[in-house]
């Protein structure tokens, strides 16, 4: 037995909810077809191709303007990343050395709690 809805606000909310479900369901059915996939992917392929061509055109323009090309900036970024990685490695080695020689770090060993925790059922704690 369905409950009658008299409240206009509740009716509006129910209507919006039903519309959402109905539209989503309808759209999902439509998007499940191979035709949809074909159309969307054709459009996507054209957009990706256009993006690639635009990128190549921009590179030529940048060379003309005597500005660094994307490849050059990327190469710089790669070098920077390599430096970052090396710094990370050095930091890691330094942390290990500091730990082994007992030097405290930003979050030092002293402040770490012991690894002795037992699950509540074993230790008798209340959950």
């Amino acid at each position: 037995m369905t409950k009658e809805i008299n409240d206009p606000v509740a009716m509006w909310q129910k209507m919006v909810g039903d519309m959402e479900k109905g539209f989503n369901s309808f759209a999902n059915q439509a998007m499940s077809s191979p035709e949809f996939s074909q159309v969307v992917n054709r459009a996507g392929g054209v957009a990706a191709g256009a993006q690639k061509q635009l990128g190549e055109l921009m590179e030529k323009y940048l060379v003309t303007m005597n500005l660094p090309s994307r490849e050059q900036v990327t190469a710089l970024a790669e070098r920077l990343q390599s430096i970052e990685s090396q710094i990370g490695e050095m930091k890691s080695i330094l942390s290990q050395m500091a730990a082994s020689s007992g030097i405290s770090q930003s979050f030092d060993e002293v402040s770490r709690p012991p690894r002795t925790k037992r699950p509540p059922s074993e230790s008798g704690e209340q959950k």
Partner: protein, 360 residues
Amino acid sequence: MNAPTGLDFASIPERIQSEVQRAIQRSIKGVEYFSTSGPTLGSTPKDVLHSRGTMSLYHYRPMSDEIYRVPVLIVMATTNRGYILDLVPGQSFIEFLLKRGYDVYMLDWSAPRPEEKSLRMEDYVLDFIPDCVRRVQQDSGEQDVSIIGYCFGGVLSLLYGSIHKDGPMKNLICFTTPIDFREMKLFSNFSDRRYFDVDHLVDSVGNVPPEMILSSFEMLRPASRTVSQIQLWENIWNDEFVKSYRMFDRWATDTLPLAGEYFRAITKDLMWDNKLFNDTMSVGGRAAKLEDIKVPFLHAVAEHDHIVPYDAAKHLIAKIGSEDKEEVMLKGGHVSLVAGANAVKRLWPKLDSWLGKRSI
């Protein structure tokens, strides 16, 4: 905020008064909404243990007097940011784990840089995850590590676990993790090999742009964004609703690009050939069979998950080789399973009771 379904005529004046007050509040709060930023997300204290390109490893500072012996490494999905698991105090999965005595680490992702377009599945499964596991071992001083993978982070964790049979993974927990990619019906149709030229896409754009990832998620429920905005306007007088809306909306739209080669592998190996389900998956020439995972295993799935439907996830539990394994289905959707008010009551306590006794 539920409106009453029936209407008593005697209460009409009160109802009108209430609606007028809400209309006034909407105007005031509406201005506030656009003039303020949302709540600060991901604020649980943490240290960056390691960072390399798209990968970051965080260690969260313990919040209890004693912690379990086995540390926990959370592997986040590569399409989204990890702060969904650390929203705000009281609604943070990370904070919950810390307060329950877990030592928590997270492998989180940032947008891959253009030069990282060549990152392959091998880089994620055979380099990033093992590297983080090693660093967790070093930092914690423990050999065993439990892994929690969310969504595609679960897929990466499964691949890692099936290849690294001899450990050091102690327990594996997957949240909403697909393995049968044919059953992700709409994604499967979007990437139909007859029409979707993944090589052309990746060769053209390098990294797959976040807009494309976001659109494909939103197309699963095309009316929902508009409806959620209508609901926001209706409820803008309600501070809690607005706070929750802002948190989830910000996260959902904060989608990451995917490294081109990695996306190519996902499309060909998983979407097209369904290799993980068919037991033919390999990464870097190393076979990845789910039956080789023998550690205690928990899979949490959501009853109303529209991104990873149950049919795409249900065979995982049977395929895992562990003797100690469990699947739990909880009410909620793909995101509300792990974050928000429902997760606080459902998934988190379940996870704690399962993992606690396996973390000593």
